[in-house]
């Protein structure tokens, strides 16, 4: 590799990393699932451009007008290096203590609950909170199963809600930078470590006031099971 082909080599590496992100599904830690085809196309284009540039650079003996160098381009090594060496994890509990995104009130009547699976109705945390806050009657007799990662409750929050923890899931619109955390307080004696994933079954409890704009929604759990992190850590 000489100085002329180095920029093309960088693009080739970038393209291959982008394709690998999609192939290994690691991209799900950073962006929404719908971006996969675009990322794949961009990766292939980058790799082709890089490869073509390297070939041309090798072939080309006569002096081309020097492409003004782009020193800034080397910054691309940072995300590539992070992805190859560190492989940054999906967003988790960091910075989420005591914070949650308020749930918007539904504009129309909510659909009926989905049919139960294995004896319980599965809802996303956001959906559960929406129903618990704005249409609690529909939840009365339901047995529910929720999935999320644990964020330990602070002493003040435990004083308000009893023993338990916050089951949390981050919803993405585009990428992790716009992630919004939705959470439900799980009343249980289990005290899980932060960022471990749990499947929780139980009955709805009445929402209870907390520090934020909205009351915390509560699930009184009778079954708390540690589970592996789902393929896609985020919900939408």
């Amino acid at each position: 590799m000489n100085a002329r082909t180095a920029p093309s080599a960088l693009l080739l590496v970038l393209g291959v990393v982008a394709v690998q992100l999609v192939r290994t599904e690691a991209y799900l830690r950073y962006v929404k699932a719908g971006l996969a085809p675009y990322l794949l196309v961009a990766g292939v284009l980058l790799a082709l451009l890089g490869a073509a540039g390297m070939l041309a650079g090798h072939r080309e003996a006569r002096a081309l007008p020097a492409a003004r160098p782009s020193q800034a381009g080397w910054l691309l090594v940072v995300p590539v290096g992070l992805l190859l060496l560190v492989s940054p994890p999906a967003l988790g509990s960091y910075g989420l203590q005591g914070r949650a995104t308020p749930v918007a009130a539904p504009q129309e009547a909510l659909d009926a609950l989905p049919p139960p699976r294995d004896g319980a109705v599965e809802l996303t945390l956001r959906e559960y909170s929406r129903r618990a806050l704005f249409a609690p009657a529909g939840l009365d007799t339901a047995r529910l199963r929720l999935l999320g990662f644990a964020v330990p409750a602070s002493a003040a929050e435990r004083a308000a809600h009893g023993s338990g923890f916050y089951l949390t899931r981050i919803a993405l619109s585009c990428c992790a930078a716009d992630g919004q955390a939705f959470r439900v307080f799980v009343r249980t004696d289990t005290a899980p470590a932060a960022d471990t994933w749990w499947s929780v079954e139980g009955a709805p409890g009445p929402p209870a006031a907390a520090a934020g704009d909205q009351p915390d929604t509560v699930l009184v759990a009778d079954r708390v099971t540690a589970v592996p992190a789902p393929r896609n850590p985020y919900s939408y």
């Binding site: 180095a6 007008p65 003004r68 800034a72 994890p89 999906a90």
Partner: protein, 338 residues
């Protein structure tokens, strides 16, 4: 007959770049490689120094913004390269109304019809300018394409269920910003503020395809590098922003608007997603939320970096404050009518 400016002589020879900067130096590769190697080896001890969770969150955010923007940047540069390689130099100029007073709104509406996001529209605007489209017109397109395209309007509608007024307000304020900035630029802008890039001029002895290859490689590295810079800045501010700070700030009046304007610049959320973030900031007034959505696609840390990389520092130092002021102004104006 309107006197169309003759296309810039393609073969006007630019001075050869100084040898020291003529290519990416191999020492650079080695230096970066060494740093990464040291980081990889010393990861354990280093983790003791910084909060490991903060560092992990920082890298996730920085990588996310890059991964999210990469496809659109590649797409934008592909379009821009195609425009430069395929269209005859005066095709676009001929298609536009000659009077800026007409061409600017036309560009604004053209931008609104095309789905595109901010990272892609910067190189496309650069391509338009290189084909002789007046700067003010191309910049209007640059501002309106990400801010008011169909995808963005639909996501705004979804994020604000039951208040279609928010969609209209966003459309009006964003389009107003784009047209206002374009008209001002046509009137007061100076061509020398934009950096002309020698690489974009094709020399007679370089083939068309080869030239396109060179330009695309150059633009991708240049824009990509600055994108990384923007992503790292945004991630840093994101992590440093004290949790709970927002809750303690005023939710009404001027302070609310300014707070969310700063937040929009710092967070660098892409325009398809910002409505959801804005809608969740329920403690702030609707005007402030509108300003968040109008400012975000126009000026944020990632975009400022991209502007510097694509058009140069002198341009960014004038364009970004102007666009920011116009965006805040129109949002407040539209917000008071809301």
């Amino acid at each position: 007959m309107t006197a169309a400016a003759p296309p810039a002589p393609v073969d006007a020879c630019c001075p050869p770049a100084p040898a020291s900067r003529a290519a990416l130096p191999l020492p650079g590769v080695l230096a970066v490689g060494t740093v990464l190697l040291v980081l990889a080896v010393a990861r354990g001890p280093l983790q003791g120094l910084v909060d490991a969770q903060a560092a992990a969150t920082w890298s996730t955010l920085a990588v996310s913004v890059c991964v999210q923007a990469l496809p659109f940047l590649v797409l934008g540069i592909a379009v821009s390269t195609l425009i430069a390689a395929v269209l005859p130099p005066d095709a676009l100029v001929g298609a536009l109304p000659a009077r800026p007073g007409l061409a600017v709104p036309v560009a604004g509406v053209a931008g609104a019809l095309l789905p595109g996001c901010e990272c892609g529209s910067v190189p496309v605007a650069s391509g338009l300018i290189s084909r002789g489209v007046p700067e003010g017109v191309a910049l209007t397109f640059l501002l309106s394409a990400p801010a008011v395209n169909p995808v963005v309007l639909v996501s705004t509608y979804v994020a604000y269920p039951g208040s279609p007024g928010m969609v209209l307000a966003r459309l009006a304020a964003s389009l107003g910003t784009a047209v206002l900035v374009g008209l001002l630029w046509c009137r007061f802008g100076r061509p020398e503020w934009l950096r002309r890039q020698a690489v974009h001029q094709r020399h007679a002895h370089v083939g068309r395809g080869e030239h396109a290859l060179q330009v695309a490689t150059h633009d991708l590295l240049q824009a990509g590098g600055f994108l990384v810079l923007g992503a790292m800045t945004s991630a840093t501010l994101h992590v440093l922003l004290p949790p709970g700070l927002l809750d303690s700030l005023a939710g009404q009046g001027v302070a609310a608007v300014l707070t969310l304007v700063v937040l929009a610049v710092v967070l660098a959320v892409c325009s398809e997603a910002d409505a959801f973030v804005a809608a969740s900031l329920t403690q702030f007034s609707r005007t402030a939320q509108l300003a968040f959505m109008v400012v975000g696609p126009v000026v944020d840390v990632k975009l400022v970096a991209l502007h510097v990389g694509t058009f140069g520092r002198r341009f960014a130092a004038r364009f970004c404050p102007l666009a920011l002021a116009a965006a805040v102004g129109t949002s407040v104006l539209v917000g008071t009518l809301l």
